[in-house]
Amino acid sequence: MSEFPAELRYAPSHEWARVEDEGVVAVGISDHAQDALGDVVYVELPEVGQDVEAGEEAAVVESVKAASDIYAPVSGTIVAVNTLLEDAPETVNQDPYGDGWFFRIQSRDDAELDALLDAQTYAEHCESESP
């Protein structure tokens, strides 16, 4: 069974967002997503300082099954990337909400967070997507 931590916000494209201090938002992929992808073998992260727009591709996850684009859930500037994933990509599978984080964005617009789904709605979305 997938986990859906209640304190996070989620995009329908299966990224999660955690609001931290001073407008910084941490981003990763959900437990549902890592399970669907299978073993992660490569992660391509954005550059620190890069600007991203909500809904645009910011990273790529390559798993044994397929390559998947990871979309920025909010707009802003990348302030940190998780270099641990370069040597230990399996962290995404093992701890998707903790050590498996992808990048942190200095966000510009609080309203974009409201457009994301809460845990309950996201869980229902996953249910509706499954065959």
Binding site: G38, D39, E44, E62, V64
Partner: protein, 357 residues
Amino acid sequence: MGNRTPLFDAHRAAGAKIVDFGGWDMPLHYGSQLEEHHAVRRDAGVFDVSHMTVIDVSGPAAVSFLRHCLANDVARLDEMGRALYAVLLNASAGIVDDLIVYRRNGDFRLVVNAGTREAVLANINSHAAAFDVSVVHRGELAMLAVQGPAAVERVVGICGLTGIDALAPFSMLERDDWMIARTGYTGEDGVELILPDDAIAGVWSDLLAAGVVPAGLAARDTLRLEAGLNLYGQDMDAKTHPLEANLGWTIAWRPETRDFVGREALTAIREAGSRWKLTGVVLEGRGIMRHGYRVITEAGEGTVTSGIFSPTLGYSVALARVPRAAAGACEVEIRGKHWSARLVRPPFVRHGVRVHK
């Protein structure tokens, strides 16, 4: 709901992710295909391969029948218990299936793929009409593959048959209703066990209790590709001939008097020279080659037939069908970008170790 082997419930109990495989509900993995792959290279893993097809061929004309049907020559099986790898061709020299044939005490056993069961039985039965033979599909038999450096030791531990240690590769022994063959699809030592389907669940749990790791279809694919072994349906099909599938070595051309099905067509192809060959590709960089990707070589373009991230090597390897003269450096197109790669002769891993520097 697809076909299920006797171990379906056991797979679910072990945490398997079940997928459809040619109409069968089979375990893709039990949590991590990478861990299962490593377990086979380092220790021992077990695969449920009961979906595969066991066909027994008997009768006074069994030898001449199989020498007619198969492109490899069963007359080479000079002792009971010996086995060989062969392709079954159609009259155009297209591959109907690849299989292993074992010489038993008086008859022969063929182990054939799951997905080609109907095609192979139809093909064999069409030829059998002219020979005094009996062809029986043994649907009540189940099959396990136990593979890895510790596999034989674990199997001996649970069944006590020390004769397994002395089995040469590509030979088998039979005891009561068990057949134990020193064959496999992983490039590691190990055995394949064929036994009655009501015995398989007990053997499975004994193996797991002895520390053998259950391994699914995903690990099976990465292991076989590292070992340079073809997968029917991916690397070859009925429109592919053996010389473009890296299987020329399985054709027993001599004696010239043996007229096997497809010989004439294959001879014409051999004399004209095959346009394509199947070879290995090693990628440089952090990408993964997959089926269907373009391979650009100095001798022309080809296509990836099977591609994976190699767990043992830590980079992507593939089999690809390329122009016969292609060699050395090439490029592979991955999601619109061209990546550097090179063509190499398979296998990529031998005895758990990288082959190509």
